[in-house]
């Protein structure tokens, strides 16, 4: 992070935009209308104000394939790259027809045949056709997802920086673990450390959880205080330059994680890592659990990382998707190892992993508790 608001570096943003344009061609899209923050950042390279959680769909950026022009929702030019001229910026408005009017006047919209949007609301489904009178409105998220799934070299460089901040903040929080400390205090330490490292934006604010001895995945409940012997799961999820890095570890309060449970988690984790080979079906990541009789965790076993979530999302809730999806070199995955034992608690581990032609490269290096 710098002392002024800057757009993403030229090579980073142009490399991404090229991938987006290629996918527009592959998906036969003349125009993309994007509302999701991650997609807007991917295409424009412009940082925007962060608010937590999902926001309602509305056009924030438009990319026209024939001209390569970008129109962007921004009231000012700070942080806007020079390839998006001032006249292509449009302002916040409470009347959606104002936005429609802006889009309608852009070269290439009147004749567009297929327009992709990355989500849709009933309200915009009514008014967007006015901007694209000749077009069929279709899903554009598939094209964006295809572009995002494989990282460029420049993306990997910033992802590595994000991982570094995640790991530093994780270590700071782990160092504060002691009997009596609360989950929230630990979360506060972690988030403060991430901010000091320049990552003021959390990917995840559920940073510390006292795992339950009674339930396989609920938090222990009560006052959120760590007691001797509790297993506490830490997750650092930070957003740096828009990119999400994740690292997670479990530590025991006042001692070591019980060896048998740790060994079970290690065994799953070794199999998860081994499944990160180009060409392998993503379902191998589910098999990493089920193949040795472990229960699938309640969260995805693996999920792509980048600007937000990326494919694949590998969960027991989507078995067909996992079987059809292939692991590819250039994907970055958050792998999650999670095992639980009644009366003891859970051991959780999350790592950011890059898939290369030669197999997985572990980006996280934090010690295991």
């Amino acid at each position: 992070m710098a002392t002024e608001v800057r757009p993403d570096d030229r090579a980073l943003r142009l490399g991404r935009r090229e991938r987006a344009l290629a996918q527009m061609k592959a998906h036969d899209l003349d125009v993309l209308v994007l509302g999701r923050t991650a997609n807007v950042r991917y295409v424009t390279g412009a940082p925007t104000i962060w608010t937590a959680g999902t926001s309602s769909f509305g056009p924030a950026c438009m990319l026209v394939r024939s001209t390569g022009s970008i129109h962007l929702l921004s009231t000012w030019d700070e942080g806007i790259p020079e390839d998006i001229p001032r006249e292509n910026l449009f302002g916040l408005t409470w009347n959606p027809m104002n936005t429609i009017e802006v889009l309608r006047r852009v070269e290439g919209t009147a004749a567009a045949r297929r327009v992709g949007t990355d989500a849709m609301s009933p309200a915009f489904a009514q008014v967007l056709p006015a901007a694209f009178p000749a077009a069929e409105l279709v899903d554009g998220e598939l094209a964006m997802r295809a572009a995002r799934r494989i990282k460029t070299a420049e993306e990997l460089a910033v992802l590595r920086q994000a991982v570094e901040v995640a790991e530093t903040s994780l270590a700071k929080a782990v160092a504060e673990l002691r009997p009596g400390v609360t989950e929230k205090e630990l979360a506060g330490v972690l988030l403060e450390a991430a901010a000091a490292g320049g990552a003021t934006i959390p990917a995840d604010q559920d940073a510390a959880v006292v795992t339950s001895r009674e339930h396989p995945w609920r938090r222990a409940g009560g006052d959120g205080r760590a007691a001797p012997g509790d297993l506490v799961a830490f997750t650092a999820g930070v957003v740096a330059h828009g990119y999400i890095a994740e690292a997670g570890r479990t530590h025991a309060v006042g001692g070591a994680v019980p060896a048998a449970l740790a060994a079970r988690c290690d065994r799953v984790w070794d199999r998860l890592l081994a499944a990160c080979r180009p060409g392998a079906p993503a379902s191998d990541l589910l098999d990493a659990y089920t193949g040795i009789g472990e229960t699938l965790p309640p969260m995805p076993a693996a999920r792509g990382l980048g600007l937000g979530f990326d494919p694949p999302v590998v969960t027991g809730g989507l078995p067909r998707t996992a079987a059809e999806e292939r692991i590819e070199a250039g994907m970055v995955l958050a792998l999650t190892g999670y095992v639980w034992e009644a009366g003891t608690g859970a051991v959780f581990r999350r790592d950011s992993v890059l898939v290369t032609d030669n197999g997985p490269e572990l980006l996280t290096t934090a010690p295991v508790g």
């Binding site: 999701r36 926001s55 030019d77 309200a123 934006i201 604010q205 067909r320 998707t321």
Partner: protein, 403 residues
Amino acid sequence: MTVTDIPDVPDIARMRRETGQKLRDAMARHGVDALVLIGNSKVSYATGVSWPLGDSGLAHVDRPVAVVLAGDPEPHLFMPFREGAGPGPELAAGHLHDPVYLEYDEGAELFAAQLAGLVPSGAVIAVDELTGAMRRLQHRLFPGGLVDAGRIVSAAKAVKTADEVACMRRALRITEEAIADVERAVAPGVRQVDLSGRFVRRAFELGATANVLDPIWQVMPPSRAEGVWTIHGDLALPLLTTERELVRGDVLWVDVSVSWGGYCSDFGRTWVVGQDPSPRQRAQFRRWTEITDAVHAVTRAGATGAELTKAAIEAHGDGTRPWVKHFYLGHGLGVDAAEMPFVGTDLGDQFDQSLVLEAGNILVLEPVVWEDGTGGYRAEEVMLITDDGYIMLSDYPYTPYGD
């Protein structure tokens, strides 16, 4: 509602009962039999469940989904699990479901099958938003056509229950206590990101559920012309936080927001770094106070938005609107950090005339005063609208400009 109606500790079960009733009343007015909600704040409103919100990018795939049925007082919740976001208040038996993954065709198909089991055939279903996979499966998910759920939820949540106000007041107290700690730390040489870190840490220690806005510590320019270029020539706001170090005399416009129990706080103040405000700067604050006093005088249930904007403009003295062009004089607050009612937007005076404040609305008043060479003045006040006026929910001094 009076001050004594607002409980110290909100009763979450009662809150869900009452908000659920409002929601079903709004559904009935719109002739809707079921709601499918996928936006984080709308799910939170419909179910009373709160969790530490994450980055929007991850939130798309990890999102809870709510289904509200006209004939069932209990909402259905499809809840993902990340590291600990277990369901908060206990839901009725059979109403808590495994997560659904609506970003994927397979996930949308599985959800369609579950939805068909919950909703009678031929039901009119409203939805707030559709993922690509939901669009591809639209005719199976919503065979009766598509109705906008956004308007239904907006209409229901504009008037708050006493428990909702209690949640917001709790979020405000956490914010104000954390911000007091930050204000003491403001000094030349401190970086903006350090203020963010300190604020977030303290807010979590005090029990915040989540930080909902990357905190703003915007250093104001000496003049409008020397500020960041904008499409309308007015001030840029809010500008992003960086590792910039504060220097003596910087005027900071502060804006932060956290949530507690799913409800947001809002906080805005103007600070000067390392020195007292000059007489000219104090005059900016006095003008701001005159504007808010004038607005307070007309604020009550039954007043129109236009009455408030008129009072603000008259008190401003030069006939112009004392707020930045791309925002508003005031906005609502609840499960969203800015929601209805919006007063003074680009929807124009006619809209403001048609907007009638109701008892139980929350209005965050945030006029802006600007004179080149002073850094201006901006602050935010959170008010609960009542039949005969308002209850001020914010409780923080206007230091260093005044009390």
